[in-house]
Amino acid sequence: MIIDEYIKELKEKFSSITKIDIFNKKRLMVYIPKETLLELTDHFFNDLKYRYQIVTAMDSKDGYEIIYHFSDDKTGWIMNINVLLPHDDPQVESITPVVYGAEWIEREIMDLLGIKFLNHPKPERFLMAESWPEGEYPLRRKFHKEDR
Protein backbone atom coordinates (compact mmCIF):
# COMPACT_ATOMS: atom_id res chain seq x y z
CA MET A 1 0.00 0.00 0.00
CA ILE A 2 1.40 3.35 -1.02
CA ILE A 3 0.35 5.44 1.90
CA ASP A 4 1.13 8.90 0.50
CA GLU A 5 -1.09 8.30 -2.48
CA TYR A 6 -3.82 6.91 -0.27
CA ILE A 7 -3.72 10.00 1.94
CA LYS A 8 -3.84 12.29 -1.09
CA GLU A 9 -6.85 10.50 -2.52
CA LEU A 10 -8.65 10.53 0.81
CA LYS A 11 -8.06 14.26 1.21
CA GLU A 12 -9.39 14.91 -2.28
CA LYS A 13 -12.49 12.87 -1.62
CA PHE A 14 -13.20 14.38 1.79
CA SER A 15 -12.28 18.03 1.79
CA SER A 16 -13.46 18.39 5.39
CA ILE A 17 -10.52 16.35 6.74
CA THR A 18 -8.53 18.67 8.98
CA LYS A 19 -5.44 16.53 9.57
CA ILE A 20 -4.02 13.07 8.88
CA ASP A 21 -1.37 11.57 11.14
CA ILE A 22 0.67 8.41 10.79
CA PHE A 23 1.79 7.01 14.10
CA ASN A 24 3.74 3.93 15.20
CA LYS A 25 3.84 1.42 12.42
CA LYS A 26 0.82 1.02 10.16
CA ARG A 27 -1.51 3.28 12.13
CA LEU A 28 -3.33 6.20 10.55
CA MET A 29 -5.42 8.84 12.31
CA VAL A 30 -7.87 10.94 10.31
CA TYR A 31 -9.21 14.04 12.05
CA ILE A 32 -12.60 15.10 10.81
CA PRO A 33 -15.40 17.39 12.04
CA LYS A 34 -18.40 15.53 13.39
CA GLU A 35 -20.70 16.65 10.56
CA THR A 36 -18.94 14.49 7.98
CA LEU A 37 -18.31 11.50 10.24
CA LEU A 38 -21.04 9.32 8.75
CA GLU A 39 -19.83 9.82 5.18
CA LEU A 40 -16.29 8.79 6.02
CA THR A 41 -17.49 5.84 8.11
CA ASP A 42 -19.65 4.69 5.24
CA HIS A 43 -16.69 5.00 2.87
CA PHE A 44 -14.42 2.95 5.15
CA PHE A 45 -16.98 0.33 6.08
CA ASN A 46 -18.99 -0.15 2.89
CA ASP A 47 -16.76 0.98 0.01
CA LEU A 48 -13.32 -0.06 1.26
CA LYS A 49 -14.73 -3.00 3.29
CA TYR A 50 -12.60 -2.26 6.35
CA ARG A 51 -13.41 -4.36 9.37
CA TYR A 52 -15.04 -2.46 12.20
CA GLN A 53 -13.01 -2.96 15.35
CA ILE A 54 -14.29 -0.75 18.16
CA VAL A 55 -14.80 2.83 19.27
CA THR A 56 -12.70 4.49 21.97
CA ALA A 57 -13.91 7.58 23.75
CA MET A 58 -11.90 9.68 26.12
CA ASP A 59 -12.08 12.87 28.04
CA SER A 60 -9.13 14.98 26.95
CA LYS A 61 -8.18 18.59 27.58
CA ASP A 62 -9.85 20.07 24.51
CA GLY A 63 -13.00 18.01 24.61
CA TYR A 64 -14.26 14.48 24.25
CA GLU A 65 -12.29 12.56 21.69
CA ILE A 66 -14.15 9.75 19.94
CA ILE A 67 -11.90 7.45 17.93
CA TYR A 68 -13.40 4.94 15.53
CA HIS A 69 -11.05 2.08 14.75
CA PHE A 70 -11.22 0.19 11.47
CA SER A 71 -8.83 -2.50 10.32
CA ASP A 72 -7.73 -3.00 6.75
CA ASP A 73 -6.96 -6.70 7.01
CA LYS A 74 -5.43 -6.90 3.55
CA THR A 75 -2.56 -4.61 4.52
CA GLY A 76 -2.59 -4.75 8.32
CA TRP A 77 -3.14 -1.00 8.66
CA ILE A 78 -5.48 0.30 11.35
CA MET A 79 -7.40 3.34 10.15
CA ASN A 80 -8.76 5.60 12.87
CA ILE A 81 -11.28 8.38 12.59
CA ASN A 82 -10.94 11.01 15.28
CA VAL A 83 -13.84 13.32 16.13
CA LEU A 84 -13.54 15.98 18.81
CA LEU A 85 -16.66 17.04 20.68
CA PRO A 86 -16.73 20.16 22.86
CA HIS A 87 -17.17 19.59 26.61
CA ASP A 88 -20.36 21.62 26.70
CA ASP A 89 -22.07 19.85 23.80
CA PRO A 90 -21.16 16.15 23.90
CA GLN A 91 -23.28 14.75 21.11
CA VAL A 92 -22.56 13.10 17.81
CA GLU A 93 -24.42 11.16 15.14
CA SER A 94 -24.61 7.41 15.87
CA ILE A 95 -22.79 5.17 13.40
CA THR A 96 -24.96 2.15 14.28
CA PRO A 97 -27.26 2.63 11.25
CA VAL A 98 -24.15 2.16 9.07
CA VAL A 99 -22.12 -0.24 11.21
CA TYR A 100 -24.56 -2.54 12.94
CA GLY A 101 -21.94 -3.92 15.30
CA ALA A 102 -21.37 -0.54 16.95
CA GLU A 103 -24.63 -0.70 18.91
CA TRP A 104 -23.11 -2.01 22.14
CA ILE A 105 -20.06 0.24 22.30
CA GLU A 106 -22.09 3.40 21.72
CA ARG A 107 -24.38 2.45 24.57
CA GLU A 108 -21.34 1.74 26.71
CA ILE A 109 -19.89 5.18 25.94
CA MET A 110 -23.24 6.74 26.81
CA ASP A 111 -23.02 5.03 30.22
CA LEU A 112 -19.40 5.74 30.98
CA LEU A 113 -18.80 9.18 29.45
CA GLY A 114 -22.26 10.63 29.01
CA ILE A 115 -21.95 11.25 25.29
CA LYS A 116 -25.21 11.39 23.39
CA PHE A 117 -25.45 9.43 20.16
CA LEU A 118 -28.14 10.85 17.93
CA ASN A 119 -30.41 8.41 16.07
CA HIS A 120 -29.17 5.42 18.04
CA PRO A 121 -31.70 2.58 17.65
CA LYS A 122 -31.67 1.62 21.32
CA PRO A 123 -30.29 4.37 23.55
CA GLU A 124 -30.64 2.47 26.81
CA ARG A 125 -28.28 1.68 29.66
CA PHE A 126 -25.85 -1.08 28.89
CA LEU A 127 -23.25 -1.77 31.56
CA MET A 128 -24.22 0.38 34.49
CA ALA A 129 -26.79 -0.85 36.99
CA GLU A 130 -30.30 0.57 36.99
CA SER A 131 -29.59 2.10 40.38
CA TRP A 132 -26.54 4.05 39.19
CA PRO A 133 -27.24 7.77 39.65
CA GLU A 134 -28.06 9.89 36.59
CA GLY A 135 -25.36 12.30 35.50
CA GLU A 136 -22.45 10.40 37.06
CA TYR A 137 -20.00 9.29 34.40
CA PRO A 138 -17.01 7.29 35.68
CA LEU A 139 -14.67 7.87 32.76
CA ARG A 140 -14.88 11.65 32.92
CA ARG A 141 -11.82 13.34 34.33
CA LYS A 142 -13.76 15.07 37.06
CA PHE A 143 -15.18 11.81 38.41
CA HIS A 144 -13.86 11.13 41.93
CA LYS A 145 -10.62 12.87 41.12
CA GLU A 146 -9.75 13.31 44.78
CA ASP A 147 -9.77 9.51 45.31
CA ARG A 148 -6.93 8.86 42.91
Binding site: I54, M58, S71, W104
Partner: protein, 401 residues
Protein backbone atom coordinates in the same frame (compact mmCIF):
# COMPACT_ATOMS: atom_id res chain seq x y z
CA UNK B 1 -48.00 -15.00 13.92
CA UNK B 2 -49.39 -16.56 17.09
CA UNK B 3 -48.67 -15.68 20.64
CA UNK B 4 -45.03 -15.10 21.43
CA UNK B 5 -43.58 -16.74 24.49
CA UNK B 6 -40.54 -15.38 26.24
CA UNK B 7 -38.00 -17.89 27.45
CA UNK B 8 -35.64 -16.15 29.85
CA UNK B 9 -32.15 -17.58 30.12
CA UNK B 10 -29.90 -16.32 32.81
CA UNK B 11 -28.70 -13.99 34.24
CA UNK B 12 -26.37 -16.95 34.43
CA UNK B 13 -25.29 -18.22 31.06
CA UNK B 14 -26.92 -21.49 30.06
CA UNK B 15 -23.62 -23.07 29.21
CA UNK B 16 -20.63 -21.40 30.69
CA UNK B 17 -21.96 -20.31 34.07
CA UNK B 18 -21.17 -16.67 33.43
CA UNK B 19 -23.58 -13.89 34.24
CA UNK B 20 -25.61 -12.35 31.46
CA UNK B 21 -29.23 -12.51 30.50
CA UNK B 22 -30.98 -13.59 27.31
CA UNK B 23 -34.61 -13.23 26.47
CA UNK B 24 -35.64 -15.56 23.68
CA UNK B 25 -38.93 -14.62 22.05
CA UNK B 26 -40.40 -17.86 20.80
CA UNK B 27 -43.24 -18.82 18.55
CA UNK B 28 -43.75 -22.47 19.38
CA UNK B 29 -40.34 -24.05 19.11
CA UNK B 30 -38.85 -21.33 16.91
CA UNK B 31 -36.90 -18.39 18.21
CA UNK B 32 -38.23 -15.27 16.51
CA UNK B 33 -36.36 -12.54 18.33
CA UNK B 34 -33.93 -12.13 21.15
CA UNK B 35 -32.69 -9.53 23.55
CA UNK B 36 -29.85 -9.53 25.98
CA UNK B 37 -28.73 -7.71 29.04
CA UNK B 38 -25.23 -7.67 30.36
CA UNK B 39 -23.03 -5.82 32.80
CA UNK B 40 -23.69 -8.11 35.77
CA UNK B 41 -20.02 -8.46 36.40
CA UNK B 42 -18.62 -5.20 35.10
CA UNK B 43 -15.39 -4.61 36.97
CA UNK B 44 -14.26 -1.28 35.56
CA UNK B 45 -10.86 -2.59 34.49
CA UNK B 46 -10.28 0.29 32.04
CA UNK B 47 -10.66 2.70 34.93
CA UNK B 48 -8.45 0.62 37.23
CA UNK B 49 -5.67 0.59 34.61
CA UNK B 50 -5.53 4.38 34.67
CA UNK B 51 -4.40 4.22 38.29
CA UNK B 52 -1.69 1.56 37.77
CA UNK B 53 1.80 1.97 36.34
CA UNK B 54 2.51 0.68 32.85
CA UNK B 55 4.25 -2.34 34.35
CA UNK B 56 1.42 -3.17 36.74
CA UNK B 57 -1.23 -3.02 34.02
CA UNK B 58 0.07 -6.36 32.67
CA UNK B 59 -1.15 -8.16 35.77
CA UNK B 60 -4.50 -6.37 35.70
CA UNK B 61 -5.29 -7.16 32.06
CA UNK B 62 -4.20 -10.74 32.59
CA UNK B 63 -7.10 -11.11 34.96
CA UNK B 64 -9.72 -9.99 32.45
CA UNK B 65 -10.08 -13.60 31.43
CA UNK B 66 -8.65 -16.71 32.99
CA UNK B 67 -8.60 -18.63 29.73
CA UNK B 68 -7.08 -15.94 27.47
CA UNK B 69 -4.69 -14.74 30.12
CA UNK B 70 -1.85 -14.29 27.64
CA UNK B 71 -3.79 -12.62 24.84
CA UNK B 72 -4.56 -9.44 26.76
CA UNK B 73 -0.97 -8.86 27.93
CA UNK B 74 0.08 -9.67 24.34
CA UNK B 75 -2.04 -6.91 22.82
CA UNK B 76 -1.16 -4.52 25.62
CA UNK B 77 2.56 -5.18 25.14
CA UNK B 78 2.18 -4.55 21.40
CA UNK B 79 0.46 -1.22 22.13
CA UNK B 80 2.89 0.02 24.78
CA UNK B 81 6.00 -1.13 22.94
CA UNK B 82 4.81 0.65 19.82
CA UNK B 83 4.54 3.93 21.77
CA UNK B 84 8.04 3.51 23.15
CA UNK B 85 9.31 2.14 19.82
CA UNK B 86 11.05 -0.81 21.45
CA UNK B 87 12.37 -3.77 19.53
CA UNK B 88 12.36 -6.78 21.82
CA UNK B 89 15.02 -9.54 21.64
CA UNK B 90 14.37 -12.48 19.31
CA UNK B 91 14.37 -14.89 22.23
CA UNK B 92 11.56 -12.96 23.90
CA UNK B 93 9.58 -12.92 20.66
CA UNK B 94 9.84 -16.68 20.34
CA UNK B 95 8.88 -17.30 23.96
CA UNK B 96 5.89 -14.99 23.61
CA UNK B 97 4.68 -16.90 20.57
CA UNK B 98 5.16 -20.25 22.32
CA UNK B 99 3.06 -19.17 25.30
CA UNK B 100 0.42 -17.67 22.98
CA UNK B 101 0.08 -20.86 20.97
CA UNK B 102 0.05 -23.14 24.01
CA UNK B 103 -2.82 -21.05 25.27
CA UNK B 104 -4.69 -21.57 22.00
CA UNK B 105 -4.32 -25.33 22.35
CA UNK B 106 -5.67 -25.43 25.89
CA UNK B 107 -8.50 -23.03 25.09
CA UNK B 108 -9.65 -24.97 22.04
CA UNK B 109 -9.49 -28.25 23.96
CA UNK B 110 -11.66 -26.67 26.62
CA UNK B 111 -14.20 -25.57 24.02
CA UNK B 112 -14.33 -28.96 22.28
CA UNK B 113 -15.03 -30.55 25.63
CA UNK B 114 -17.78 -28.13 26.56
CA UNK B 115 -19.41 -28.32 23.13
CA UNK B 116 -19.41 -32.11 23.45
CA UNK B 117 -21.09 -31.86 26.84
CA UNK B 118 -23.86 -29.60 25.57
CA UNK B 119 -24.63 -32.06 22.82
CA UNK B 120 -24.75 -35.02 25.13
CA UNK B 121 -21.32 -36.35 24.26
CA UNK B 122 -19.93 -36.55 27.73
CA UNK B 123 -17.16 -38.91 26.67
CA UNK B 124 -15.81 -36.20 24.39
CA UNK B 125 -15.96 -33.78 27.30
CA UNK B 126 -14.02 -36.13 29.58
CA UNK B 127 -11.42 -36.85 26.91
CA UNK B 128 -10.82 -33.26 25.88
CA UNK B 129 -10.45 -32.03 29.43
CA UNK B 130 -8.21 -34.91 30.35
CA UNK B 131 -5.89 -34.15 27.43
CA UNK B 132 -5.88 -30.49 28.37
CA UNK B 133 -4.29 -31.27 31.74
CA UNK B 134 -0.76 -31.97 30.43
CA UNK B 135 -0.90 -28.65 28.56
CA UNK B 136 -1.73 -26.82 31.78
CA UNK B 137 1.00 -28.72 33.59
CA UNK B 138 3.40 -27.58 30.90
CA UNK B 139 2.33 -24.00 31.56
CA UNK B 140 3.19 -24.51 35.21
CA UNK B 141 6.63 -25.80 34.28
CA UNK B 142 7.37 -22.94 31.87
CA UNK B 143 5.72 -19.98 33.55
CA UNK B 144 5.17 -21.09 37.12
CA UNK B 145 1.38 -21.01 36.89
CA UNK B 146 -1.40 -23.02 35.29
CA UNK B 147 -3.32 -19.83 34.61
CA UNK B 148 -2.48 -16.12 34.81
CA UNK B 149 1.07 -16.75 33.75
CA UNK B 150 2.58 -13.31 34.45
CA UNK B 151 5.07 -14.06 31.68
CA UNK B 152 5.10 -10.73 29.87
CA UNK B 153 6.71 -7.46 30.76
CA UNK B 154 7.52 -4.30 28.85
CA UNK B 155 10.44 -5.08 26.56
CA UNK B 156 10.32 -8.87 26.74
CA UNK B 157 9.40 -11.78 28.96
CA UNK B 158 10.15 -12.59 32.58
CA UNK B 159 11.31 -16.20 32.32
CA UNK B 160 13.44 -18.08 29.86
CA UNK B 161 12.66 -21.52 28.48
CA UNK B 162 15.53 -23.89 29.19
CA UNK B 163 16.68 -26.71 26.90
CA UNK B 164 15.33 -29.23 29.38
CA UNK B 165 11.89 -27.59 29.40
CA UNK B 166 11.93 -27.50 25.61
CA UNK B 167 12.46 -31.27 25.45
CA UNK B 168 9.59 -31.80 27.88
CA UNK B 169 7.38 -29.47 25.86
CA UNK B 170 8.06 -31.36 22.62
CA UNK B 171 7.08 -34.60 24.33
CA UNK B 172 3.80 -33.10 25.55
CA UNK B 173 3.08 -31.68 22.09
CA UNK B 174 3.65 -35.04 20.42
CA UNK B 175 1.22 -36.53 22.88
CA UNK B 176 -1.36 -33.79 22.31
CA UNK B 177 -1.10 -34.32 18.57
CA UNK B 178 -2.04 -37.98 18.90
CA UNK B 179 -4.98 -37.03 21.11
CA UNK B 180 -6.04 -34.32 18.68
CA UNK B 181 -6.23 -36.97 15.95
CA UNK B 182 -8.55 -38.87 18.24
CA UNK B 183 -10.76 -35.85 18.88
CA UNK B 184 -10.86 -34.88 15.22
CA UNK B 185 -11.93 -38.42 14.40
CA UNK B 186 -14.58 -38.40 17.11
CA UNK B 187 -16.10 -35.18 15.79
CA UNK B 188 -15.59 -35.31 12.02
CA UNK B 189 -16.49 -38.97 11.50
CA UNK B 190 -19.60 -39.01 13.62
CA UNK B 191 -22.81 -38.96 11.54
CA UNK B 192 -24.85 -37.76 14.52
CA UNK B 193 -22.64 -34.71 15.05
CA UNK B 194 -22.88 -33.92 11.33
CA UNK B 195 -26.67 -34.14 11.46
CA UNK B 196 -26.89 -32.22 14.71
CA UNK B 197 -24.56 -29.32 13.90
CA UNK B 198 -24.57 -28.69 10.17
CA UNK B 199 -26.76 -25.77 9.23
CA UNK B 200 -27.26 -24.78 12.86
CA UNK B 201 -26.43 -21.19 13.87
CA UNK B 202 -25.28 -20.19 10.39
CA UNK B 203 -23.49 -16.87 9.89
CA UNK B 204 -22.75 -15.58 6.40
CA UNK B 205 -19.68 -13.59 5.41
CA UNK B 206 -21.91 -10.49 5.29
CA UNK B 207 -23.05 -11.05 8.89
CA UNK B 208 -19.42 -11.30 9.94
CA UNK B 209 -18.65 -7.96 8.27
CA UNK B 210 -21.76 -6.27 9.71
CA UNK B 211 -21.00 -7.28 13.27
CA UNK B 212 -17.22 -7.08 13.01
CA UNK B 213 -16.96 -10.65 14.28
CA UNK B 214 -13.45 -12.09 14.55
CA UNK B 215 -11.45 -15.24 15.09
CA UNK B 216 -12.80 -18.77 14.54
CA UNK B 217 -16.32 -17.32 14.28
CA UNK B 218 -15.28 -15.34 11.19
CA UNK B 219 -12.99 -17.99 9.76
CA UNK B 220 -15.77 -20.60 9.91
CA UNK B 221 -17.74 -18.43 7.48
CA UNK B 222 -14.87 -18.42 5.01
CA UNK B 223 -13.59 -14.97 6.04
CA UNK B 224 -9.83 -15.33 6.04
CA UNK B 225 -8.69 -12.95 8.77
CA UNK B 226 -6.08 -13.57 11.39
CA UNK B 227 -4.06 -10.85 13.11
CA UNK B 228 -1.05 -13.16 13.27
CA UNK B 229 -0.90 -13.11 9.47
CA UNK B 230 -2.40 -9.68 8.67
CA UNK B 231 -0.35 -7.59 11.09
CA UNK B 232 2.36 -9.95 12.35
CA UNK B 233 3.72 -9.45 15.85
CA UNK B 234 6.14 -11.43 18.06
CA UNK B 235 7.68 -14.25 16.00
CA UNK B 236 4.72 -15.04 13.76
CA UNK B 237 6.28 -13.66 10.58
CA UNK B 238 9.16 -16.12 10.93
CA UNK B 239 6.96 -19.20 11.07
CA UNK B 240 5.47 -21.34 8.36
CA UNK B 241 1.76 -21.87 8.97
CA UNK B 242 -1.60 -21.37 7.35
CA UNK B 243 -4.84 -19.69 8.35
CA UNK B 244 -7.53 -22.34 8.78
CA UNK B 245 -10.90 -21.49 7.28
CA UNK B 246 -14.06 -23.49 6.72
CA UNK B 247 -17.20 -23.01 4.69
CA UNK B 248 -20.77 -23.16 5.87
CA UNK B 249 -20.63 -20.80 8.83
CA UNK B 250 -22.53 -23.18 11.09
CA UNK B 251 -21.54 -24.67 14.42
CA UNK B 252 -19.90 -27.60 12.67
CA UNK B 253 -17.61 -25.29 10.68
CA UNK B 254 -16.60 -23.51 13.88
CA UNK B 255 -15.71 -26.81 15.52
CA UNK B 256 -13.73 -27.80 12.42
CA UNK B 257 -11.73 -24.55 12.46
CA UNK B 258 -10.86 -24.91 16.13
CA UNK B 259 -9.84 -28.53 15.85
CA UNK B 260 -7.61 -27.99 12.83
CA UNK B 261 -6.08 -24.86 14.35
CA UNK B 262 -4.63 -27.00 17.10
CA UNK B 263 -2.39 -28.76 14.57
CA UNK B 264 -1.13 -25.39 13.34
CA UNK B 265 -0.40 -24.29 16.90
CA UNK B 266 1.51 -27.48 17.64
CA UNK B 267 3.62 -27.00 14.52
CA UNK B 268 4.21 -23.33 15.32
CA UNK B 269 5.48 -24.08 18.83
CA UNK B 270 7.82 -26.73 17.43
CA UNK B 271 9.22 -24.24 14.91
CA UNK B 272 9.74 -21.67 17.68
CA UNK B 273 11.58 -24.26 19.76
CA UNK B 274 13.82 -25.02 16.78
CA UNK B 275 14.70 -21.33 16.51
CA UNK B 276 15.32 -21.17 20.27
CA UNK B 277 17.70 -24.11 20.02
CA UNK B 278 19.78 -22.36 17.38
CA UNK B 279 19.92 -19.15 19.42
CA UNK B 280 22.62 -18.66 21.99
CA UNK B 281 21.13 -18.15 25.46
CA UNK B 282 20.91 -14.40 25.83
CA UNK B 283 18.72 -11.52 26.87
CA UNK B 284 15.03 -12.11 27.25
CA UNK B 285 14.17 -8.47 27.75
CA UNK B 286 15.40 -4.99 27.04
CA UNK B 287 15.23 -2.23 29.57
CA UNK B 288 12.59 0.37 28.78
CA UNK B 289 13.16 3.50 30.79
CA UNK B 290 9.93 5.35 30.30
CA UNK B 291 6.98 5.53 27.98
CA UNK B 292 6.96 8.78 25.97
CA UNK B 293 3.73 10.69 25.29
CA UNK B 294 1.79 9.15 22.45
CA UNK B 295 -0.88 6.78 21.30
CA UNK B 296 -0.46 3.07 20.78
CA UNK B 297 -2.75 0.51 19.26
CA UNK B 298 -1.96 -3.15 19.70
CA UNK B 299 -3.88 -6.20 18.71
CA UNK B 300 -3.28 -9.90 19.05
CA UNK B 301 -5.05 -13.05 17.96
CA UNK B 302 -6.57 -14.73 21.02
CA UNK B 303 -8.11 -18.21 20.79
CA UNK B 304 -11.50 -16.49 20.33
CA UNK B 305 -10.34 -13.81 17.91
CA UNK B 306 -8.73 -10.41 17.88
CA UNK B 307 -8.01 -8.69 21.19
CA UNK B 308 -7.68 -4.94 20.79
CA UNK B 309 -5.91 -2.53 23.13
CA UNK B 310 -5.66 1.23 22.77
CA UNK B 311 -3.25 2.98 25.11
CA UNK B 312 -2.67 6.70 25.47
CA UNK B 313 0.28 8.00 27.42
CA UNK B 314 1.08 11.54 28.48
CA UNK B 315 4.67 10.69 29.40
CA UNK B 316 3.82 9.87 32.99
CA UNK B 317 3.86 6.58 34.86
CA UNK B 318 0.45 5.29 33.95
CA UNK B 319 -1.77 5.32 30.87
CA UNK B 320 -4.26 8.16 30.75
CA UNK B 321 -6.67 6.08 28.71
CA UNK B 322 -6.69 2.35 28.15
CA UNK B 323 -9.40 0.90 25.96
CA UNK B 324 -9.79 -2.84 25.80
CA UNK B 325 -11.95 -4.86 23.44
CA UNK B 326 -12.17 -8.59 23.88
CA UNK B 327 -13.22 -10.71 20.88
CA UNK B 328 -16.52 -11.76 22.45
CA UNK B 329 -17.63 -8.12 22.44
CA UNK B 330 -18.17 -8.25 18.69
CA UNK B 331 -18.93 -11.98 18.46
CA UNK B 332 -21.75 -12.17 21.00
CA UNK B 333 -24.08 -9.78 19.10
CA UNK B 334 -24.03 -12.31 16.23
CA UNK B 335 -26.38 -14.44 18.36
CA UNK B 336 -29.12 -12.30 16.89
CA UNK B 337 -28.35 -13.83 13.51
CA UNK B 338 -27.39 -17.32 14.57
CA UNK B 339 -30.28 -18.02 16.97
CA UNK B 340 -33.22 -16.34 15.29
CA UNK B 341 -35.07 -18.76 13.06
CA UNK B 342 -33.63 -21.76 14.85
CA UNK B 343 -35.26 -23.84 17.58
CA UNK B 344 -34.83 -23.34 21.32
CA UNK B 345 -32.80 -26.53 21.59
CA UNK B 346 -30.36 -25.14 19.02
CA UNK B 347 -29.99 -21.82 20.83
CA UNK B 348 -27.77 -23.42 23.45
CA UNK B 349 -25.15 -24.74 21.04
CA UNK B 350 -25.42 -21.75 18.68
CA UNK B 351 -24.52 -19.41 21.52
CA UNK B 352 -21.74 -21.70 22.70
CA UNK B 353 -20.26 -21.90 19.20
CA UNK B 354 -18.60 -18.49 19.36
CA UNK B 355 -17.00 -19.60 22.65
CA UNK B 356 -18.42 -16.64 24.53
CA UNK B 357 -16.36 -15.37 27.38
CA UNK B 358 -17.84 -12.80 29.70
CA UNK B 359 -15.60 -12.32 32.66
CA UNK B 360 -15.22 -14.70 35.51
CA UNK B 361 -17.15 -17.64 36.70
CA UNK B 362 -19.97 -17.41 39.10
CA UNK B 363 -22.26 -20.25 39.86
CA UNK B 364 -25.95 -20.63 40.46
CA UNK B 365 -28.07 -23.71 40.02
CA UNK B 366 -31.60 -22.31 39.74
CA UNK B 367 -33.23 -19.04 38.82
CA UNK B 368 -36.52 -17.90 40.37
CA UNK B 369 -38.78 -15.15 39.18
CA UNK B 370 -38.58 -12.55 41.94
CA UNK B 371 -42.21 -11.56 41.58
CA UNK B 372 -44.04 -14.84 41.29
CA UNK B 373 -41.44 -17.01 42.96
CA UNK B 374 -41.82 -19.44 40.08
CA UNK B 375 -38.79 -21.25 38.86
CA UNK B 376 -37.70 -20.36 35.33
CA UNK B 377 -35.82 -22.63 33.00
CA UNK B 378 -32.31 -23.13 34.27
CA UNK B 379 -29.00 -24.09 32.79
CA UNK B 380 -29.37 -27.80 33.49
CA UNK B 381 -32.76 -27.96 31.79
CA UNK B 382 -31.56 -26.12 28.73
CA UNK B 383 -28.58 -28.41 28.34
CA UNK B 384 -30.94 -31.38 28.78
CA UNK B 385 -33.12 -30.07 25.97
CA UNK B 386 -30.08 -29.79 23.73
CA UNK B 387 -28.98 -33.32 24.64
CA UNK B 388 -32.47 -34.67 23.96
CA UNK B 389 -32.35 -33.37 20.42
CA UNK B 390 -29.08 -35.20 19.80
CA UNK B 391 -30.69 -38.36 21.19
CA UNK B 392 -33.57 -38.01 18.76
CA UNK B 393 -31.17 -37.67 15.86
CA UNK B 394 -29.31 -40.71 17.13
CA UNK B 395 -32.54 -42.71 17.14
CA UNK B 396 -33.45 -41.49 13.68
CA UNK B 397 -30.05 -42.46 12.32
CA UNK B 398 -30.16 -45.68 14.36
CA UNK B 399 -26.81 -45.00 15.99
CA UNK B 400 -26.18 -46.57 19.35
CA UNK B 401 -23.93 -44.97 21.94
Amino acid sequence: MGKKTIVPIGPYHPLLEEPEFFKLYCDGETVVDMEWETGYNHRGIEKICESKTFEQVFYVVERICGICSTSHPFAYANAVESIADVDIPLRAKLIRSIVGELERIHSHLLWVGLAGHFLGYNTLFMWAWKYREPVLDMFEIITGNRNSYAMFTIGGVRRDITAEQATQLIKVLDDVKVKTDLLVGAVMDDPVIHARLKGVGVLTAKDIHDFGAVGPTARASGVKIDVRRDDPYAAYDMLDWKVITAQGGGVFAKAEVRLLEMYESISMIKQCLEFLKKEEPGDIKVKVKDIPPGTGIGHAEAPRGEVFHFVKSDGGNSPIRHKIRAPSYTCIPTFRKSCIGGTISDAAIATAAVDPCYCCTERMTQVYDHRTGKRMMNAVELIKLSQQKTDEIRKKLKVKL
